[in-house]
């Protein structure tokens, strides 16, 4: 095996001094202009921002979280902890974007984060002076006195320092989508192993989805630029991709990260559809969420390299050795000209050779292994030039904003400074096992690779292959490692001792870990939470293992015993937009439109959300002062002439079968079996705990056919209740249930002229005379010359009232027809506001009273509760707490001073009581200005309310600054005898 496509360190242009003349999968003919911190730069198609910056010689990319230390590019992939930038501007600004995965596009704008005033001169670097104070957990120990200063002084100061980048300036202008896909095999990762797995599955005729998080699948086959069978590995990758792409049962998703494993072989993946262009074209989503349901999954996610901890190991120019190869082979960029390679395993040697072949100068290979360990491995020979220092370590990186040298301690103990601009570090590779643990599996320690690999219990259907499985050794190239986690620090102690970083993003040092352990936080999970190790955007991909290695060295517990902390989704951070898809703004939830919606919109109605429904609230007319002017007009129409309203949103359930009546008897607390055919009865359903579930009507059309109505809010819940009761409690009852809410448009016709209006549309010979079609009657009729309809004589408003139902497609036409034919009767449409006022005037309960804590008796409906049969809720309704004498029951209120208003939500106290908890005797559930009575009215729940009719109490609302005297009354304000209904 030898290096492919040898390149020479000849700058391809003076603007990209570190760009190799050849090699990589970048397209040198395509020059892309971009800017970093305002400086204009250029790169090529196929670059990431990181590779382009390196090509241009830019290494300082940001400042660290706590100490504001200069930071550069550590890796070449999604594990990057350090090179985070703000990408794009304004509403498209993306904070904390890893430069190593941000694909370059023409016009890209990036800015460094967490620095002031500039990246090179960051005033906040002063924090480093106080570093000895800012140790792990320091804030738990101070800022306690005086307590009042926390919110005013300390916390604002801490918060100013919080975070790295800034969120976007405004609403996200791009859009997203979600979809569901099914596969026989999901291959996670498109490296050599993943491609091989996909190919095998495809050839076996299986449906395959292959996801790779990078723009170009190939994984290390590309990064390592190796030759396979005398040909560049890339050629093999391209051939495999070509074969896979030609198979219609295979879907290849580049730029797609599988981020989580969920129950039921469900995988979450996010595809970055258009992040590689400046702005997604119209209708192209920025990203899409894939829910993938796969019978099998192959985890071929490769491995992540980690560094070795030494002093000032965070200097820009300290880079993972494998990343150095990626920059050379994938992007055609030489990350440094004079390199020191520091390794504890064979893989470092591969990097040294790659550097040398690409024209870099490898000054020294610092091999931490002893002579014997290193020679025992059949490692590739170190490059000819430069020194191979066995048993040596890099003690410290030298330089300020960039590496300028390495302090090396030789096997002899002698320390030597070697000038260099790049320190390539390999501390070994850790399999990307995260997805294997999302359902609770535990990783297993593998001494041979000095890392954890996926354990025994993988998620159902998942297997791991290749480097993700911890298989690093190809037949011709074993992988030998002698663990070395941390270089023993120089003895120097004191106020400004150099720092050795474990977690670059959270500025967690080896000493922080030791301190935490001293303070008792010596379990990996405690340690993580106390120091924030591994809690940054990279989730410790490169730092977790070195971190627990430091801990294990401190506690003397072995690494497998110390263990990793729990990995959680997402594998890499996922934008919230992708998880939300199209659901935002007006599309947050679907809209449910009543049959007359379009007509009401034309009328200029104002709408109100009720669940997902949009109902007409009121119908304004020119000159109206406010909504109440319109609502009052509508109420008056109902009280004096006739009003019509679309009440189709009420739930309607068709109940049929031989046992329909018996079934309803068990559902309602009152009896339905005694209902005569052609009649309607009001009914109340209880929950199993005896509290009211819902109220409505049941109409009987034949022996075995009822139509039940529910409140709008509870329609789905009641339908479910009926289904569940039937299917689990009484499956043998012959009952079938069908929701017909959407089938019927139902229009309420109410008012003294309601019958006159109705007579004009109901087909002869049906007789709607008072004597023929009684209050609470129901019938199937025809309207407007043959349209089938159901007619109910019911009233929510307290007036003579009907509800007329026609198939939904005719709802709008019926509404319009009624308005036309009833014009001379003074007919008006009325909306939900008027409906609300009418029902309060009449003392009918609604959502505010059916609030899930009231019994039928509380609402004055106790008389309905049958004593002669069993029904749901009967037994538990008898519990002492539900029948106590001091329960709050429904009353009416009117202001003592009739000009005063009553606030819904006000509490009730006795006339002379203080407005405090001890005096609280109830609260106002619904309130309205009654146009009919000319003053405010309200319904309330009040302790011993039925004994208090006539009493004066106060409705107090300290929240809104109101306190009014009210008289307790019956809840029925209007026509208590019900004469009008029956007229």
């Amino acid at each position: 095996m030898s290096q492919a496509r040898t390149s020479v360190a000849r700058p391809s242009s003076s603007l990209q001094p570190f760009r190799l003349a050849e090699g990589g999968i970048v397209d040198r003919s395509r020059v892309l202009l971009y800017s970093f911190d305002g400086a204009p730069l250029q790169g090529h198609l196929g670059d990431t921002l990181a590779s382009a910056l390196l090509a241009s010689g830019v290494r300082l990319t940001g400042r660290s979280f706590k100490y504001h230390r200069p930071r550069g590019i550590l890796s070449a992939g999604s594990e990057e902890p350090s090179a985070l930038v703000e990408l794009r501007r304004g509403d498209r600004r993306e904070a904390n974007t890893r430069a190593t995965v941000a694909e370059l596009y023409d016009g890209l704008v990036a800015q460094s984060q967490n620095r002031w005033p500039s990246l090179r001169y960051d005033a906040m670097a002063i924090n480093q002076v106080f570093a000895p104070l800012f140790v792990a957990g320091f804030y738990y120990k101070t800022f306690m006195w005086p307590a009042a200063l926390w919110e005013r002084l300390y916390e604002p100061a801490i918060r100013r320092a919080a975070g790295l980048g800034r969120a976007a300036g405004g609403p996200d202008p791009d859009h997203y989508e979600k979809l569901t896909a099914f596969a026989d095999v999901l291959v996670i990762g498109g490296g050599a192993s993943g491609l091989a797995a996909a190919l095998a599955a495809a050839r076996a005729g299986e449906r395959v989805i292959l996801c790779d998080e990078q723009a170009h699948p190939g994984g290390r086959a590309i990064d390592d630029g190796r030759m396979v069978g005398g040909r560049p590995a890339l050629d093999g990758v391209l051939e495999t991709l070509a074969e896979l792409s030609s198979d219609p049962r295979v879907r290849i998703l580049p730029r797609t990260t599988v981020f989580g494993v969920y129950d039921g072989r469900t995988y979450g993946a996010v595809e970055r559809v258009a992040d590689h262009v400046a702005v997604p074209p119209a209708d192209v989503p920025r990203q899409r969420l894939w829910r993938i349901i796969a019978k099998r999954a192959v985890l071929a996610a490769g491995a992540t390299e980690r560094g070795i901890i030494f002093a000032d190991n965070d200097r820009p120019g300290v880079m993972l050795a494998g990343a150095v190869r990626s920059y050379i082979h994938r992007y055609g960029v030489l990350p440094g000209r004079r390199a020191v390679v520091f390794t504890n395993n064979d893989d470092g040697m591969t990097t040294a050779r790659a550097l040398a072949t690409a024209g870099g100068h490898v000054v020294a290979v610092v091999d931490a292994r002893s002579v014997s360990a290193a020679s025992a491995a059949t490692a590739p020979a170190p490059p000819p030039e430069g020194e191979h220092l066995l048993g040596a370590v890099v003690v410290r990186a030298l330089g300020g904003t960039e590496v300028s040298g390495a302090l090396v301690r030789l096997a002899s103990g002698e320390e030597r400074t070697i000038a260099c601009d790049l320190i390539a570090v390999s501390g070994g590779w850790s399999p990307n096992l995260h997805l294997s643990t999302h359902l609770g599996g535990k990783p297993a320690w593998d001494d041979a690779i000095a890392a954890f690999r996926p354990g025994e219990a993988l998620p159902p259907g998942m297997t791991a292959v290749g480097r993700a499985a911890g298989v690093f050794a190809a037949a011709d190239r074993p992988y030998a490692i002698t663990p070395m986690w941390q270089v023993p620090p120089a003895a120097a102690k004191g106020w400004r001792k150099p720092k050795a970083f474990v977690d670059l993003q959270h500025d967690v040092t080896d000493e922080d870990i030791q301190l935490a352990a001293r303070e008792g936080f010596d379990h990996a999970e405690h340690l993580k939470r106390y120091t924030t190790l591994g809690m940054a955007t990279d989730q410790g991909r490169t730092s977790a293992l070195p971190g627990i290695a430091v801990l294990s060295a401190h506690t003397g517990r072995s690494l497998p015993e110390t263990g990793l902390t729990t990995a959680r989704p997402p594998y890499t951070p996922v934008s919230i937009g992708a998880l939300a898809g199209t659901a935002r703004g007006a599309h947050f939830r679907p809209v449910r439109r009543p049959p007359t919606y379009a007509w009401a919109r034309q009328c200029g109605a104002s709408f109100v959300e009720t669940g997902l429904w949009l109902r007409a609230a009121y119908f304004p007319e020119p000159g109206d002062r406010d909504w109440y002017t319109a609502a009052r007009r509508e109420v008056e129409a109902v009280r004096t002439a006739v009003g019509i309203s679309d009440v189709s949103t009420l739930g309607k359930i068709d109940v049929r079968g031989r046992d329909a009546a018996a079934f309803l008897d068990r559902i309602y607390c009152n009896t339905m079996s005694s209902l005569a055919i052609g009649r309607v009865r009001y009914g109340v359903m209880l929950r199993e705990d005896g509290i009211v579930l819902d109220d409505g009507t049941a109409a009987r059309f034949s022996d075995g056919h009822f139509v039940v109505t529910t409140t709008t809010a509870n329609a789905a819940r009641v339908m479910q209740h009926l289904e569940v009761c039937h299917q689990t409690l009484w499956p043998a009852l012959d009952v079938t249930l069908a929701s017909v809410t959407d089938h019927w448009a139902q229009i309420a016709i109410a008012g003294p002229r309601a019958r006159d209006l109705l007579a004009r549309v109901v087909d002869r010979p049906f007789d709607i005379a008072n004597t023929a079609f009684l209050y609470m009657a129901a019938a199937e009729v025809g309207v407007c010359g043959g349209t089938p309809a159901r007619l109910f004589r019911v009233s929510f408003s307290g007036e003579l009232g009907f509800e007329l139902a026609v198939p939904a497609r005719f709802g709008q036409a019926l509404m319009e027809r009624l308005l036309v034919v009833g014009a001379d009767l003074g007919v008006r449409p009325y909306g939900a506001e008027a409906l609300g006022i009418l029902r309060i005037e009449k003392g009918h309960v609604a959502g505010a009273e059916l609030n899930g804590t009231t019994t039928a008796a509380d609402l004055g409906l106790g008389g309905l509760m049958s004593r002669k049969k069993e029904y749901i809720g009967r037994l538990l309704a008898e519990r002492p707490g539900l029948v106590a004498a001091d329960r709050q029951v429904l009353v009416g209120l009117r202001p003592a001073d009739r000009s005063a208003r009553i606030r819904s939500g006000a509490h009730l106290v006795a006339r002379n009581a203080k407005a405090d908890a001890a005096s609280d005797i109830g609260y106002v559930t619904s309130a309205a200005q009654s146009p009919t009575l000319g003053h405010a009215i309200a319904l309330a729940l009040m302790a011993r309310g039925r004994e208090r009719h006539g009493e004066i109490v106060r409705a107090v609302s300290p929240l809104t600054g109101e306190d009014v005297e009210v008289e307790v009354t019956s809840p029925v304000f209007y026509d208590p005898e019900g004469a009008r209904l029956r007229g």
């Binding site: 039921g264 479910q720 569940v724 299917q727 689990t728 069993e870 037994l875």
Partner: protein, 105 residues
């Protein structure tokens, strides 16, 4: 999570509504009998409010609300969320236990 509805086949979680355990205390009364245990209040309190709620295999009542609207009895492991099978609560002849059809889970 995916539930193998005996009618619809395997479907994802969001189509279903969980309604509580089908533990013995909430046993499905025989056809035609009342919803209420004859023993009275104590038993009603127990069956309505008290739960075993132990880890391990549980039989839950699920409603396929956004599907065929069947009520199902689903055997599921409360800790691993593994699903052994589901059958229609309303026994239709011989209630088949639907398996996921893809092996162990």
């Amino acid at each position: 999570m995916r539930i193998p509805c005996p009618h619809c086949g395997e479907r994802s979680l969001e189509e279903f509504t969980y309604l509580g355990p089908a533990n013995p205390a909430r046993a499905v009364p025989e056809a035609g009998r009342s919803a209420l245990p004859a023993a009275g209040l104590d038993e009603a309190v127990t069956s309505t409010y008290l739960r075993d709620n132990l880890p391990g295999w549980v039989t839950g009542i699920w409603y396929h609300a956004l599907g065929c609207r069947s009520v199902l009895l689903v055997e599921r492991h409360a800790t691993t969320h593994e699903i052994a099978g589901a059958r229609l609560a309303r026994a239709r002849g011989v209630a088949p236990v639907a398996r996921t059809g893809i092996g162990d889970a």
